[in-house]
């Protein structure tokens, strides 16, 4: 009889050891169904971190350790060197050389792990390289795609690659992030979906009061990425539309582009020529 009681006490202690209410529910069900082995998927799930420009991306390693220890995910930091902002803005030839690396690495990973699920978290320039890689390799199948600080065009046609990932793509947007707008306005081939969202059927935009790199920490990963990657559960952002409204000047600064600057310089030159001739 004492053994029975201790079993119930031990079950309750195991359930109580989970502080998160959701994890507690899962633990309870798991133990009542006969143990954790009955509840977790045993399929290997690889999580690729793809970084942005002008960084060696320490966040990849910082996030990898707790994720490896606490989940069944196998994190893999994928790097392609530190891309200087000037190289980032130039259309040629640097983008292609970085694309070759990401294309090769992701396709190798798929080939080496044919039965595993592969999900990708891509940040900034990494979102651009990921989209190009998917367009170039129709056989590359991914599970989840999470973008943050995305520099893809908001009109990017996800239907072109719709069979290569589970819809929807998650797009985490930082409302204090001007970089996607700057990338769009001061170069070619980039967009501002990381500042304003895609607003398309195959994507879910989540808005956060964060800057360009504000997503790259364990707190954000734990609260918003892991529920998706582990359970396919989309946790909505708590930021409402009103609180993410930008001021007039913030909006205008984000609109200011190479075209505007060229126009101002041209008009200034015209004025200077006119004034010197009179």
């Amino acid at each position: 009889m004492r053994e029975h009681a201790s079993t119930l006490i031990s079950l309750q202690e195991r359930i109580r050891s989970y502080s998160d209410p959701r994890e507690r529910e899962i633990a309870e069900a798991s133990h009542l169904l006969g143990g954790p082995a009955n509840i977790d998927s045993d399929r290997q799930h690889i999580l690729v971190f793809l970084h942005g420009m002008n960084t060696y991306a320490d966040w990849q390693e910082i996030l990898s350790e707790p994720i490896r220890n606490l989940t069944n995910l196998k994190p893999i930091p994928l790097g392609y060197g530190n891309v200087h902002p000037v190289k980032f803005l130039l259309p040629f030839p640097y983008r292609q050389s970085r694309l070759k690396i990401v294309y090769r690495e992701l396709n190798d990973l798929r080939e080496d792990n044919p039965d595993a699920d592969i999900s990708v978290v891509a940040h900034s320039f990494g979102t651009y390289l990921l989209s190009k890689t998917l367009l170039k390799s129709p056989k590359l199948k991914l599970k989840h795609v999470i973008l943050c600080g995305s520099i893809l065009d908001s009109d990017f046609d996800w239907n072109l690659i719709k069979n290569q990932f589970l819809s929807p793509v998650i797009n985490d947007v930082g409302v204090r992030d001007p970089w996607p707008s700057l990338a769009k306005n001061w170069s070619v081939g980039y967009g501002d979906s990381g500042s304003f969202g895609f607003k398309k059927g195959r994507t879910v935009d989540r808005f956060f009061d964060l800057d360009h790199s504000g997503f790259l920490n364990y707190e954000h990963a734990k609260d918003f990425w892991l529920p998706l990657l582990v359970d396919g559960r989309v946790i909505p952002s708590r930021l409402n539309a009103q609180s993410r409204k930008l001021s007039y000047w913030q909006t205008e600064l984000r609109r200011f582009s190479l075209l505007h600057l060229s126009t101002i310089i041209f008009l200034a030159l015209l004025c200077w020529v006119w004034s010197t001739n009179n």
Partner: protein, 130 residues
Amino acid sequence: MNMCSTKFDSLIAEFPYEADAVSRLANLVDVEKSTHIREYTPARMYHLIQPSNFRVLIQMLTSATELGLLKKVVRVMSPTSKLAGIAEFDSALEIPLTLFDVRTGLDVEVTTDQIRLIYQILPDRECSHA
């Protein structure tokens, strides 16, 4: 719009990759099918709903419970008759070490193999009248 369908829409928004499984759950929950309480074990739910895995199933059922679409019950069965419950709780954490079994008239010490996790579909749920 039917409040039930609104709740299932929010469930699909939460589990967009399990939309088919959520649809199957919606069919199961359809109140037109029955006027009495229907009960399912998680294993039966897994068979009927066919989500990606058991962990996802429990997440979905927990959300459906929070939305009022289902009711979760942790039932302690009688040690003398495995088909008869002697008490019900919201969580296994609430189960006392001993319970009075009306069938035998005795206090029984609760063992983990007497505990069942059940999900109920109630006919008078909020969404059924919206």
